[in-house]
């Protein structure tokens, strides 16, 4: 019984660099409780729980089983999904499929991470092939920096162009009470911050965060009754196309998986002119440079024109197509939650509940996920029930 589904409730923690007052299960519970409150629900209303994180950040095996006290999965169907950085978006896609299939009416989806509990780069390195990749790789920062280097080489984009993206997202974050880093920065400050891996500086990069996010998906027929404005799923697409870091063709820095996912998503949802038709994007953009490159890969502008799009203010709050009104990933990155926060944030935008970071009249919004071996997930949500 293929049917439509929508996000009807969202909740997230106030994200911080370290939450000593709560353990893992308790930080999960905080997001779940807020989500249920948002939807005026109790745990008894929930048919199934989907949870995810990246195991080696906290060193807990069978996290679904461990999480019960916090996630509310006691005597319920509970399942875990993990795909690295894309975990959160993978979860958002799973929540939709579980409802769309007819298996469940209401599904609670949870992404979380306590990145303070390990060395983020050390743990990320374990994701990669121990024989070919792991001896050299230096985590996400390395993988992203080489992408930026390649892009800069091909199109002449500069660190200053990238810094403009960091400035945008960090300004947006000041409007989001949940964001981890809430401090405006200047282009000069970004450029003067310590070099992590050329050409990427500290303020170009996402932080590591303790946080959790939860959303509830409901089936059509029910969703309309549960909240005044459900955020309807219009389409989903995933491309997890590489198994080794060295498979990536960095030529030009383009994110091939995003090009392919965007093509599929636009085809499925009938989007022909993304810049005009999409009202807001929450992009899993883990560093500033991606805010240049991936706008191109999403087809918002031509190759090499990302910097112009950003400098023209098109992607600022108040611009034609705001990107990351929440402050995005450079302001908050609790990795297993990050992709789901993108989905929750666009749901808030569609519901008109985004407070100071609200974009006016959001009809169609995109959430993306990034992670793994340069992988992409994309989800389209809309105000109206899809055809």
């Amino acid at each position: 019984m293929a049917r439509r589904s929508a996000i009807v409730a969202t909740g997230q923690t106030h994200h911080r660099s370290i939450r000593r007052d709560v353990n893992g299960q308790e930080i999960i519970n905080e997001a779940v409780t807020r989500c249920l409150e948002d939807g005026d629900l109790t745990i008894n209303d929930i048919d199934a729980v989907v949870i995810g994180n990246m195991d080696h950040f906290e060193g807990i095996n069978y996290v679904d089983c461990w999480s019960v006290d916090g996630c509310g999965g006691f005597m319920k169907p509970t399942i875990k999904l993990t795909t690295g950085g894309t975990t959160g978006s993978t979860l958002a896609i799973a929540g939709h499929h579980l409802v769309a299939s007819g298996a469940f009416e209401k599904v609670l989806v949870i992404g979380w991470e306590k990145n303070s509990e390990s060395d983020t780069t050390g743990a990320i390195n374990t994701a990669f092939c121990p024989i070919w990749d792991r001896p050299f790789f230096a985590g996400a920062i390395a993988g992203l920096s080489v992408t930026a280097q390649s892009y800069a080489d091909r199109f002449g984009a500069t660190p200053k162009d990238a810094a403009r993206v960091a400035v945008r997202d960090r300004r947006h974050a000041c409007l989001n009470p949940y964001a981890h880093l809430r401090k405006e920065v200047t282009i000069e400050e970004v450029l003067a911050s310590p070099m992590l891996a050329d050409p990427v500086c500290l303020l170009d990069m996402c932080p590591r965060t303790d946080g959790a996010c939860a959303v509830v998906y409901a089936a059509e027929g029910l969703a309309e009754k549960m909240c005044p404005q459900p955020a309807w799923v219009h389409g989903v697409a995933s491309r997890h196309m590489f198994s080794y870091v060295s498979d990536a063709d960095f030529a030009g820095g383009s994110l091939f998986s995003m090009e392919r996912a965007a093509q599929e998503l636009y085809k499925k949802t009938g989007i022909k002119e993304p810049l005009k038709e999409i009202d807001v994007i929450e992009m899993y953009q883990p560093f500033s440079w991606a805010g240049l490159i991936w706008t191109e890969d999403m087809g918002l502008c031509k190759k090499g024109e990302g910097p112009k799009l950003v400098w023209d203010g098109v992607t600022d709050l108040g611009g034609e197509l705001p990107i990351n009104p929440s402050g995005g990933v450079v302001s908050t990155n609790c990795i297993g939650a990050t992709g789901l926060i993108r989905a929750a944030e666009v749901a808030l935008q569609i519901q008109g509940k985004a407070g100071e970071r609200q974009v006016p009249d959001v009809n169609l919004a995109i959430a993306t996920g990034f992670g793994g071996c340069l992988w992409t997930d994309m989800l389209a949500y809309g105000k109206n029930k899809p055809e």
Binding site: R20, N125, P135, G139, V146, A197, D247, G253
Partner: protein, 168 residues
């Protein structure tokens, strides 16, 4: 934070009623990762003959280095061995300047180091390795590099010390 600072910080927090549970210092999970037949052949050729071998996809013609069994895009088994390199073109690179824990040792990895993706001549995939950074200004995408082999080779990617610029 130094271990002393860390410990005094934790005593402070204990007074506030907040504990941190640490994994044992020596805690580790041992693994015996199988290299697989294709990868083993590559390591053997490096170790014995200082030679790079790859495998060519019978469908799309792409040459994979290191070799592997299946071409992902074509979903076919590959068998044709191809000798490649040893010279390589720098496809992209960075210089890692931030310290992080090497998950294999549990210790901080020394920085900075040059980290490059090399397209070995004749191959269509990239090969990661180190390069020297005594003169950073010389490093450019598209330049030719070659491997420096270790005298004592054990059958690991570390049998190559690093890739160095070919002085034309």
């Amino acid at each position: 934070m130094s271990p002393e600072e860390k410990s005094s910080k934790e005593q402070e927090l204990q007074k506030e009623g907040l504990l941190t549970i640490h994994s044992a210092k020596e805690a580790e999970q041992p693994f015996l990762y199988s290299v697989g037949r294709y990868g083993s052949r590559f390591l053997e050729e490096m170790q014995k003959n200082k030679r790079f071998v790859g495998v060519r996809c019978p469908k799309c013609g792409k040459v994979y280095v290191p070799p592997r069994e299946v071409c992902g895009p074509c979903f076919v088994k590959m068998e044709e061995e191809v000798e490649v390199g040893p010279r390589a073109t720098l496809d992209t690179f960075t210089i890692i300047r931030f310290p992080y824990i090497d998950p294999e040792t549990g210790d901080l990895r020394p920085v900075p180091f040059g980290y490059g993706f090399f397209k070995i001549d004749g191959s269509d995939t990239l090969f990661q390795h180190y390069f020297p950074i005594d003169d950073e200004s010389k490093i450019k995408i598209g330049l030719k590099f070659e491997p420096i082999w270790r005298e004592e080779r054990t059958g690991s990617v570390r049998d190559i010390e690093q890739f160095v610029l070919v002085e034309e």
